[in-house]
Point group: C2
Chain length 258, copies 2
């Protein structure tokens, strides 16, 4: 997983993004994501790759006890300043191994009602392992809700439209869709390694590991946000995918399913 978020140049550029400065209200996918968040009152929530902690703050303000996990010390330092609700515990640690995310911390089984992740899983090489880890730490009927860059958006490392001579976007190109794995991309001027997977690659590991799908949403920014940032091209290709899945209570029937 990329530790780019601890790079000084990248970190500065990231800090100037609208969503870094102003949080959820300028994140195009937030209205769609918010609708899928279950009741938070008295619930235990884990935010994987919590960044500046905007989502942690939302969960805490709505009654949850929250753990925000991020591999970047710089991010966690910012989160502790910007989004410091008393019911949030920030932890520097990796989501690649939720058995031992950090030396100071571990996650006993079946303790969370919601495991959440915003735009981090496309940095992760092994999604099926994450699904198994999340399943272990979720309570029965607990939910796994996450957003990722859409497989259409990640298929080519350029992650951009094709433009004509006047700079008008012609269409969004897809290629090597079934050649999944690492992509050496650029984000905010810095090289970043992301992992491309298909839609199937997101869904089947959930269904195979004791989850039932609750929602699959391809979010589009609200018309206000589209206007504010001139994001009309957002309607031309999917950029994000939001998935909500519930940990099934195991019964003999569930175990027999193919």
């Amino acid at each position: 997983m990329s530790e780019i978020y601890d790079d000084q140049t990248f970190f500065k550029a990231y800090g100037k993004l609208p969503r870094s400065l102003d949080g959820l209200k300028v994140a195009g996918e937030w209205p769609a994501l918010k609708r899928l968040i279950p009741d938070l009152k008295g619930k235990k929530v884990l935010d994987l790759g919590c960044g500046y902690g905007w989502h942690c703050q939302y969960f805490a303000e709505n009654g949850a006890e929250v753990i925000g996990l991020d591999a970047s010390e710089k991010m966690i330092a910012q989160a502790r300043q910007k989004n410091n609700h008393q019911n949030i515990t920030y932890v520097v640690g990796s989501m690649e191994n939720l058995d031992f995310p950090s030396e100071q911390f571990d996650f006993p089984s079946e303790q969370f009602d919601l495991v959440f992740s915003s735009l981090t899983i496309h940095y992760l090489a092994d999604f099926p392992k994450l699904v198994q880890d999340v399943r272990r730490i979720l309570r029965p009927s607990g939910q796994f809700l996450f957003s990722v860059e859409h497989p259409i958006y990640t298929s080519r490392k350029e992650q951009d439209f094709i433009y004509d001579a006047n700079g008008q976007a012609l269409f969004f190109p897809v290629d090597n869709y079934f050649k999944t794995g690492a992509r050496q991309t650029h984000f905010l001027g810095s090289p970043v390694e992301k992992f491309h997977r298909t839609v199937e690659d997101f869904i089947e590991p959930l269904l195979e590991n004791g989850f039932s799908l609750r929602h699959l949403v391809e979010p589009v920014p609200t018309s206000e946000v589209i206007q504010q940032f001139h994001w009309e091209n957002e309607l031309r290709r999917p950029m994000m995918l939001i998935i909500s899945a519930e940990k099934k209570i195991m019964t003999p029937k569930n175990h027999d399913e193919n």
Copy 2:
């Protein structure tokens, strides 16, 4: 829904397709589709848009009692000749209204174990209505299994790669992804109206209408078929989507779900 399949010119061209001549063994998606077909012994199966009846024949040969429904009289006439297993009943009728698909036929509730459709639903304007109809005629725990052209493949009416001056495919273009609805496309030299929908548009109506998702598969032809027909470009973009869903047995808990 397009009645193109009763057009003489189109029908002749369709009859020369590998899959029309040689059936399932040359259909690139068949190995993936076949794996998702449940046990057929003694089961009742409905094939929506059965065409030449290749799938009906497979279902019947594996022990099912089968109804093959197709809006095209020409298709049904061919099916009766080519795939005439005694346990298949072919019916000319529309899948747009499964309450009254034809004057001679109706479908009582909860009679099928499997409702199947191969590459027909992208001709259909109203998918949520189909889902509700299928739910009604399926037995509890019955399955709805279908293949469609992938939303990536249907977003632009051209449905083709962008080529360079030497005729080499550069990439597959996506556009107007969120502008769902009719597309005036061409298939085998004839104009055909198809309906573009997003991945979300296929999944959410199932989850909202009492189905649980069993599988979401983006099939790739076997390496043998890729070699035989020089289909290397099939690995560059998804062309088909296969979805398998199960009719949930309603409980008070299911009814409460959002």
